[in-house]
C-alpha cells in the first residue's frame, strides 16, 4: 500500500535520516518508535510531503509520490495529525472538521454558494468522542479534547492511510486510554501509521513496529518479537544515546 525506500535527509551538515525503508500494509497499524531525536517526526514529514527527501522514493498504491506537496498527498487519501497541535483555533470543533472534509475541498473555490456539511462533520466528532462539543471553539477545548479533535480533523478527509504523530503526547492516563480506544476502533477501517513514545500504548495497538535511532531503522517486527530485542530495550531506555 505505502512504501518508502532508502530515504535520506540532511539539514545542512546534519544527517537526519539515513537509508530509511518502511512498508505499511493495508488494514494494519504500523508503529514507529525511538528516543527523542531519532528522526521519527522528520520521517513522518518526508512521508507526508512536508519535506522532500534528498534521496529515496515514496510510493502509495503503486504511484510515486516522492516530493509531492502536502495538498497533493492529502488528496490521494493520506491524512496526518501533528505532535504539536495544529488546529483552526478560532473555528468551532464542527467547523474544524467541515473545513477538512473532501466536500468542502471540492467547493473551496465557490465564492457565492453556501455549504454547511454539518451532518457528516457531526458524525466524525461523535466518532472521536466530541459529541455535544460541536459549537465549542477549538482553542476553548480541554487538552484531551483537542487531541481528539486533532485526530477528527485528520479523519474528516476520510483517509485510506492515517498518520498519527504522538497522539497521546501530554495526556494523562484516562485521556490516553480514551485515545487508545479510539485508535483501536479506527484501526478496523483505516490503515494507520503511528509515532508513539509510550511503549505500552504502542505495543498494545500495533501490528508491526519500526524502531528508529540515529536516523536509521535499527529493528522492525511484530510487537512480541521486538519486546525481547535487546537493541529495542536499550534504545528505549536511552542507553544508545
Amino acid at each position: 500500500m505505502f512504501e518508502a525506500s532508502h530515504l535520506h535527509k540532511r539539514f545542512g551538515r546534519h544527517v537526519v535520516l539515513e537509508d530509511v525503508s518502511m512498508r505499511f500494509e493495508p488494514g494494519r497499524l504500523s508503529g514507529i518508535m525511538g528516543p527523542n531525536g531519532a528522526g521519527k517526526t522528520t520521517c513522518f514529514n518526508l512521508l507526508t510531503g512536508r519535506y522532500a527527501p534528498d534521496r529515496g522514493s515514496v510510493r502509495f498504491e503503486g504511484r510515486d509520490i516522492t516530493g509531492l506537496p502536502p495538498r497533493s498527498i492529502a488528496r490521494l487519501g493520506i491524512s496526518r495529525s501533528f505532535q504539536i497541535m495544529n488546529l483552526f483555533d478560532e473555528y468551532s470543533a464542527l467547523d474544524n472538521v467541515v473545513v477538512a472534509s473532501p466536500e468542502m475541498r471540492r467547493k473551496g473555490f465557490s465564492m457565492l454558494s453556501s455549504f454547511t456539511g454539518a451532518d457528516a462533520a457531526a458524525e466524525v466528532l461523535a466518532k472521536v468522542g466530541l459529541s455535544g462539543k460541536e459549537g465549542v471553539r477549538a482553542k476553548d477545548l480541554s487538552y484531551g479534547d483537542r487531541r481528539a479533535l486533532e485526530i477528527g480533523v485528520a479523519l474528516a478527509a476520510r483517509p485510506r492511510l492515517l498518520f498519527l504523530d504522538e497522539p497521546t503526547a501530554g495526556l494523562g492516563t484516562e485521556a490516553t486510554a480514551r485515545i487508545g480506544a479510539l485508535i483501536a476502533e479506527l484501526k478496523r477501517s483505516v490503515t494507520i501509521v503511528m509515532i508513539e513514545h509510550d511503549m505500552k500504548f504502542l505495543f498494545g495497538l500495533a501490528d508491526h513496529i519500526y524502531v528508529m535511532h540515529w536516523g536509521q531503522v535499527i529493528a522492525q517486527g511484530a510487537p512480541d518479537a521486538l519486546r525481547a530485542n535487546p537493541w529495542v530495550q536499550r534504545s528505549n531506555l536511552g542507553a544508545l544515546e
Binding site: N86, L87, Y91, V99, M111, A156
Partner: protein
C-alpha cells in the same frame, strides 16, 4: 427557514447600514455636515471592506494597498482622456487595471506570510507610487490627471446625470450596496471559510488538501480589484487622480480604518472604521490641524488595549449584557 435565510443574507447590521446611507442626503446637513462626505465615506468603505478581505479574513497584511486604489483611479482617468471611454468602460478599466496589477504582485508574494508578506506589499506599493510620479508623459507627474469628467450613467432604460451630486451619491450608493452584499456572501462561502482557515493555520490548511498559494493569490486579486473599483469611483467623484492616493501614508489610512473599526473580528469593522475616520477628519479637523495626531493616538490606544477594535468592544459588551 426562508426567513432565516433572508436574515443570513441581509443581516440587521447590513440593513441598518443601507438605511443609514440611503437616507444620508436627507439628514446630513441637519447635523452640520455635507452630502459629499457620504460619497467619500462610501468609497472608502468599499476600499476598506475589500482590504479587510485580506487583513481580517485571510490574515494577510497588505500595507501598500493604496497602489491598487491609485491604479484604479488612474485607469479611470486615462481611459477617458486617452481612449474616450464612457462611465462603464472607465470603471471596467479601473477594475481591470487593478486586477492585473494585483494579479502580478500577488504572484510574487503569495508564497510568503507575516512580516515578509507585509514588506513585499510595501515595496510593490512604493513601485507603483514612484511610477505614478515619474512617468510624467502618462500620469502627468505630481499634478496627476485633472478634469476627469463625470459621464452619464446609462442604464439602457434610463440615464443618470451624475454631474448632480444627489445622482452621484446614489450611483456610488448602488456600488456600495453591491460590494457589501457580494463581500458578505463571499466571506461566508466555502472560499471565504477556507481563507479564514488559512489565516488561522496555514500549515494545517495545506495538509488537509488546499492549494494555499492559490487561495492567497485569489484573495489578493479580489481585494485589489475592489480597491480598483473604489479608486475609479474616487476619480469619478474627485474628477482627478494623483500620486498621493498611492502613497504609503494613504495606504496606512485603510489599515487604520480596518483595525480601529474591528476588522479582525467583524465584517462590519471597516465600515465603522471608515465612518469614524471621516468624522474625525471633519469634526476634529475643524478644531485642529493636528487631527491626524489624535487619530493616530486613538489607533495606538486601540492596538495596545483593544486590538479587536470597536467591533470587538461592541461584541464584548453584547456578550456580557443579559439576554
Amino acid at each position: 427557514m426562508m426567513l432565516l435565510r433572508i436574515k443570513e443574507t441581509f443581516p440587521p447590521a447590513m440593513l441598518l447600514t443601507f438605511a443609514l446611507f440611503a437616507s444620508l442626503p436627507l439628514w446630513i446637513k441637519g447635523v452640520g455636515l455635507y452630502p459629499y462626505l457620504g460619497v467619500e465615506v462610501m468609497i472608502w468603505v468599499i476600499y476598506a471592506l475589500g482590504f479587510n478581505l485580506l487583513l481580517g479574513t485571510s490574515g494577510l497584511p497588505s500595507f501598500g494597498h493604496g497602489a491598487y486604489f491609485g491604479v484604479g483611479a488612474y485607469a479611470f482617468g486615462l481611459s477617458q482622456l486617452y481612449w474616450g471611454l464612457g462611465l462603464w468602460g472607465s470603471l471596467a478599466s479601473a477594475i481591470g487595471a487593478a486586477l492585473v496589477a494585483g494579479a502580478l504582485v500577488a504572484a510574487f508574494i503569495s508564497h510568503r506570510r507575516g512580516i515578509y508578506y507585509a514588506l513585499l506589499t510595501i515595496a510593490f506599493g512604493q513601485v507603483f507610487w514612484f511610477v505614478s510620479i515619474k512617468w510624467h508623459s502618462v500620469t502627468r507627474g505630481e499634478d496627476g490627471l485633472l478634469n476627469i469628467r463625470r459621464p452619464a450613467a446609462d442604464f439602457g432604460v434610463f440615464s443618470l446625470d451624475i454631474q448632480k451630486l444627489d445622482n452621484l451619491y446614489y450611483f456610488c450608493f448602488g456600488a456600495f450596496v453591491l460590494v457589501i452584499v457580494l463581500l458578505w456572501r463571499l466571506v461566508r462561502s466555502p472560499f471565504g471559510r477556507v481563507l479564514a482557515a488559512i489565516r488561522q493555520n496555514e500549515t494545517r490548511a495545506r495538509f488537509v488538501g488546499y492549494n494555499v498559494w492559490l487561495f492567497k493569490w485569489l484573495a489578493f486579486v479580489i481585494s485589489a480589484l475592489i480597491a480598483g473599483l473604489a479608486g475609479g469611483l474616487f476619480a469619478l467623484a474627485q474628477q482627478s487622480a494623483y500620486p498621493n492616493v498611492m502613497s504609503l501614508h494613504q495606504s496606512g489610512f485603510v489599515v487604520m480604518m480596518a483595525l480601529i473599526g474591528g476588522g479582525m473580528v467583524s465584517f462590519w469593522g471597516p465600515v465603522v472604521g471608515a465612518v469614524l475616520f471621516f468624522i474625525a477628519r471633519d469634526l476634529l479637523g475643524a478644531y485642529t490641524e493636528a487631527w491626524l495626531l489624535w487619530y493616530g493616538l486613538l489607533f495606538m490606544v486601540i492596538v495596545l488595549f483593544k486590538p479587536e477594535g470597536i467591533a470587538g468592544w461592541f461584541q464584548n459588551v453584547r456578550s456580557k449584557s443579559p439576554a
